[in-house]
Symmetry: C2
Subunit: 367 residues, 2 copies
């Protein structure tokens, strides 16, 4: 699978894999794809440096990238305590009520809750970049909006291409105007933050909207058939995130969660504001149901919702409270039915891609 | 575009066009596709016979089909008046309130409102079939669930293939067990009644679920790129509905509605229960907003909602009350930007299909 973009990046197959796990990202790159390491959880720059050292040692000199989160709306200039104070007591009581109903234990004294608002703050992302540009990363992706102009310029000065996610042609045009190099058109069926427009409709619209810029298709892709479809729609590559969550190299820290992912069907996800305050696709659970319940208090806007539920999510994950246990994942979860190595999954993608192209050629009368 | 199914049906291109307009269906068939005439509005059998006579005279002996609506849940055994009586007065008042707010005039004395519940009743569909089997139709599609076993048997005795729409692999398996010949896998982005699973994910799942049965891909398809994607996903054909609404042969009886469709973007539709009580994608309007408003009374279940809003919809359409004026349509409406003949649209589909296949072959290293 060769496109202009894959050749520019020096990658054998135009398959981009987004993952929070260095072992998955490295395996993807070794397999001939392009691994993109999600950096949101690295609030300490040293942790990121340690994992990038590891990536560097395990990618055979092949290219990989980094994904940071720089929200369009800054939350600088306020302390976490000030933001905490904006959360209504009724919402805190609702969290306690759900946790009590399911008997979720407390964290141990002094035990930090995992993901915090800080991971979403621009300064944290900037600290990550200070580390990242010391490594030969080839791509910097931003999950929320266009990164600031100075970050784009800094990436370009390091010969790093900049990618940004778009859920509509309008977003994509805004990225193009901001000097972004690659648009990731992410459809409704994708895991994580998504808009309403499905991949089938979104990709050609974004391709048209941004002219010469390369577009990656994201959302609903987990097989070679879907990769072929992405190329047919005009993409220069496929961007896959969910598919790697059940690979052997992924470490979800919860067998119960892995089991839930393996058992889930394509109809078992929901686009909910429960996680961050913005619509994000995730496993549907009694937790998301509680936040989407018209008789509940509803969710708070970003970043308040994320802060409100951070400790609760840590407890749910730590104690593997099955009915509440979830994760961002796309509708492709219905096809994630076995735990295999990244290499085995990747080989399946290239094999089924070849079969899909051969079939299409027969239909088109070209074989 | 040749597949086993297209060859079985004797059609040049595996492009299936669903439309309520005989002129569009006939033009599709003449162009080398397969026109499928939607029959829901033919409550009088003679009207259907008249239009099938016309189809027969304008299709050069080429194949076409008919789409009927036989809901899984029967509403037989009750009179329309009895169903009417089940509608709460608060909902009727809400209809009057919206119409008054927008100054929508009354219908003239004795003027019938258009679409009624009767079009959805099984007996009406059976009367349609009594007419239809006198014509050499090649396909009978059912928009809601599997048709009854005797209808399937009757179709087969006339050498008519039976198709049914499915929004999930489970629905598709149920159709297969009911002896259906063709599954139309209709994704979230489609116009009309849809489920939550997007076409990109749904089509391969349905293909896997029904084994040897041919699957048509529906939802989000309006270009040759998207048709190529549908084939890549394993479909034996593409099923397009929305795209024909703005062709020259279509007659929406409203220039204002055509103008709205031409101007709408892919983000201007909504999956709402406002029309029938079941989620159906349509133009987002102040009418759908009123029914989806959490502060309103909400919608009623099928068939009550359809009955509740029938007269109001007739008035909105007759007087072209712009803010309320809508129609079922898919997200592909964003690409419906000019009024052209069916033939011109069809030629574009086949041309852009060839280009998409050629591009895919270059990416796959086959050109």
């Amino acid at each position: 699978m060769k496109t202009e973009l894959s050749q520019k990046l020096g990658v054998e197959h135009a398959i981009f894999g987004f993952t929070p796990f260095p072992a998955v990202a490295a395996a993807l790159t070794r397999a001939g794809g392009f691994g993109v390491l999600g950096a949101v959880r690295y609030t300490a720059p040293d942790d990121l440096a340690r994992d990038l050292d590891w990536m560097q040692a395990h990618t055979d000199g092949k290219p990989y990238g980094l994904d940071v989160v720089m929200p369009a709306k800054k939350v600088e200039g306020v302390t976490e305590a000030e933001v905490e104070a904006m959360i209504p007591e009724g919402h805190r009581a609702y969290v306690r009520e759900i946790l009590a109903k399911h008997g979720v234990p407390e964290l141990a004294e002094g035990e930090a809750s995992g993901w915090r608002i800080t991971g979403w703050m621009e300064q944290v992302a900037r600290n990550q970049l200070d580390v990242a540009f010391d490594y030969p990363i080839k791509l910097l992706a931003n999950a929320l909006g266009s990164p600031p102009a100075d970050v784009v310029a800094r990436a370009h000065s390091h010969d790093v291409l900049v990618a940004a996610l778009a859920g509509s042609p309008k977003h994509a045009r805004r990225h193009a105007e901001a000097g972004i190099d690659i648009i990731v058109a992410q459809g409704y069926e994708a895991g994580g933050h998504t808009g309403e427009i499905a991949t089938m409709v979104l990709v050609p619209e974004v391709v048209d909207a941004v002219g010469e810029l390369p577009v990656l298709a994201a959302g609903g892709i987990g097989s070679g058939e879907q990769i072929a479809a992405a190329f047919a729609l005009g993409a220069q590559g496929a961007w896959l995130g969910s598919l790697w969550l059940t690979t052997e190299e992924a470490d979800l820290h919860s067998r119960a969660l892995t089991a839930k992912l393996l058992a889930a069907g394509s109809g078992d996800t929901v686009r909910s504001r429960a996680l961050t305050g913005k619509p994000a696709r995730q496993l549907r659970t009694q937790w998301t149901d509680a936040w989407d319940d018209p008789n509940g208090p509803g969710t708070l806007p970003m970043p308040l919702q994320g802060l409100l539920v951070a400790e609760a999510n840590s407890r749910i994950q730590k104690y593997e409270v099955e009915p509440l246990l979830g994760t961002p994942v796309g509708q492709i979860v219905g096809r994630m039915n076995s735990e295999r190595s990244v290499q085995a999954v990747f080989d399946d993608l290239t094999r089924s891609f070849e079969k899909a192209v051969a079939r299409l050629n027969r239909i088109a009368g070209r074989s």
